[in-house]
């Protein structure tokens, strides 16, 4: 953990970024990401592009997502419809963009909920230990017996399909599973000298959890979040493909793949290609971005930059 420069690297002005304010930690981190993990940086850029499309889909989409035009059914990509149209004459580009919005919402909300659940359960279980740990871990064990998709299908068939229930179920599913990973990190941090030192200084449990434990498991939490975004998007697409996701006519990528995409696969292949490529790209990009983050945020690497 010494901060001596590696032999051969000379800390001169040339190694410093040229942009003003470049010593800000976030800017410095992005620089590191570009230099050390170019593939991860590409993933990050692709993901941000999709995120941007999702955020501004209402502005970017040339047509309303459900605006039908029977005169222009199943058209191939053209200047007026960049990605073609479906069997009701709806503009595919607009639908893919609004689909990105839905996917991002499900992804971020579910991953956000999952992260909160993981942090709360993981911190309590890992730090308090003993009977609390025992109780929480047995519940987690029991929960993890059920396959994800099965649980989703059961819940959706009981309460009906819709975005809120999908987000909640996915959030709980990933959150409870992920609490194991947070707990593992907490167990390590709990036994460090600085935690003992904080205890010997008379800090309350909540204070120690918030100021000493949580910041030190953040690398794990960030990676957990990014991978769960991808997983939640994929799970939602899977559910929509089965007709159990966000109900039509909402333009979900999974729904587009299974409905028009399959029916008209030979007549109008673009109907399946566009949402399929989007789904693949998003999940792929968020995963390689998450991997790069994990490598860069690894505590063993910290301070060795």
């Amino acid at each position: 953990m010494t901060d001596t420069a590696l032999p051969g690297t000379i800390p001169t002005a040339t190694t410093r970024p040229l942009i003003a304010g470049a010593d800000h930690p976030i800017v410095a981190f992005c620089g590191r990401l570009l230099r050390e993990k170019p593939l991860g940086a590409i993933g990050g850029v692709i993901f941000v592009v999709f995120l941007f499309c999702g955020l501004f889909a209402d502005v970017l989409a040339p047509y309303a997502a459900n605006e039908t035009n029977m005169a222009a059914r199943l058209q191939a990509p053209s200047l007026s419809h960049w990605l073609g149209t479906d069997h009701l004459g709806r503009d595919l580009l607009s639908r893919v963009l609004i689909g990105a919005q839905l996917s991002m919402m499900v992804g971020f909300l579910a991953a956000g909920l999952a992260t909160v659940v993981s942090i709360v359960l993981g911190l309590l279980s890992g730090y308090l230990g003993g009977k609390v740990d025992m109780a929480i871990q047995r519940v987690v064990d029991a929960w993890m017996i059920f396959p994800d998709l099965l649980l989703l299908i059961v819940v959706v068939s009981i309460v009906g399909s819709g975005m809120p229930q999908i987000v909640i179920v996915l959030g709980l599913l990933y959150g409870i599973g992920g609490s194991r990973i947070v707990r593992g990190g907490v167990l390590t941090v709990r036994e460090t000298m600085y935690t003992h030192a904080a205890q010997s200084m008379g800090a309350r449990t909540l204070y120690i959890l918030w100021y000493h434990i949580l910041p030190n498991v953040m690398p794990v939490v960030i990676v957990l979040f990014t991978t769960r975004v991808g997983a939640a998007i994929l799970a939602e697409a899977g559910l929509s493909f089965l007709g159990l996701g966000v109900p039509p006519p909402a333009p979900t990528w999974g729904g587009m793949l299974s409905g028009d995409g399959r029916t008209y696969m030979y007549m109008a292949p673009w109907l399946a290609i566009a949402p399929g490529v989007c789904l693949t790209l998003v999940v792929f990009s968020v995963n390689i971005f998450g991997d790069a983050l994990r490598d860069l945020l690894d505590p063993r690497m910290r301070g060795s930059r």
């Binding site: 953990m1 030192a197 904080a198 010997s200 200084m201 008379g202 800090a203 100021y211 000493h212």
Partner: protein
Amino acid sequence: MSEAIAASGAPALLRVENLSVRFRTDRGMVRAVDGVSLHVHAGETLAIVGESGSGKSVTALSLLRLIGDNGEIEQGRILFDGVDLGRLSGAEMRKVRGNRIAMIFQEPMSSLNPVLTIGKQVAEPLVLHQGLSWQAARKRAVELLARVSIPDPVDRLDSYPHHFSGGMRQRVMIAMALACDPKLIIADEPTTALDVTVQAQILALLKALTRETGAAQILITHDLGVVARYADRVAVMYGGRVIESASARELYANPKHPYTQGLMASVPSLDSDPGRPLQTIPGQPPDLANLPPGCAFAPRCAYARDLCRQGKPPLESIGPQHERACYGYE
């Protein structure tokens, strides 16, 4: 110094009576501390000396009731400033920790949280115990850092621990310990991880600062050289018990327990013959899970008799300010 304080008849700041601590382990109950009695007066430095596993660190941690989920104070009283710490509630005990009794650990490289700034960590005890705002505590932190001789304390507030060397980090730990003007500072091997020259600086700093504030100090160490220079009184621990206790001067001049004598003999001195091999104490330190029924040192003791293997010798006074736990060999 200790004689003068003791002679004045003032009650001890800290009095530990017959303390026993045990831990649940996979191999059954382990008694790490077995009937330890200690006392420290205000302004005095008591050194607790012993090898690894002698129970010295556990004794210190149990003073703050920080012995973990599997540890338990079996019996004994800890009287601090007239209050029985064993009877305090968890919340009351938290007000003692870091505020009235502060602790410094042996690993300065890992005792500071790597993701928080130095300023934040030094300010922490002030926010916790004196109800200061983070901003006010930050200002006090500058003074504290200056007091432990950290250069440019204002600029250092926003540094992270990895910018600091081991000695600097231990200075930060001392600043944190001093933040609330504690009456007692427990330093658990504060210099083991440091260079020899830095060790001397840190110990001198601790000594000067405790003298300035009139705080008492418990210095836990296995380094007899440190004891000789910085301690007023010494308690030697072996196998979870105090086996000899005396003023530092007396203990060096006149060690009475065979184990202490062995320790003294194993310290090389400048005028000893360089070709002579170092003296050692034969045998292994005792396994706490499996202590002999009698004196824990008996298996390694040249003078051991049947009596020693049957019962534990009590700590008895053998002179002014000098106690030992031994059936005698004279």
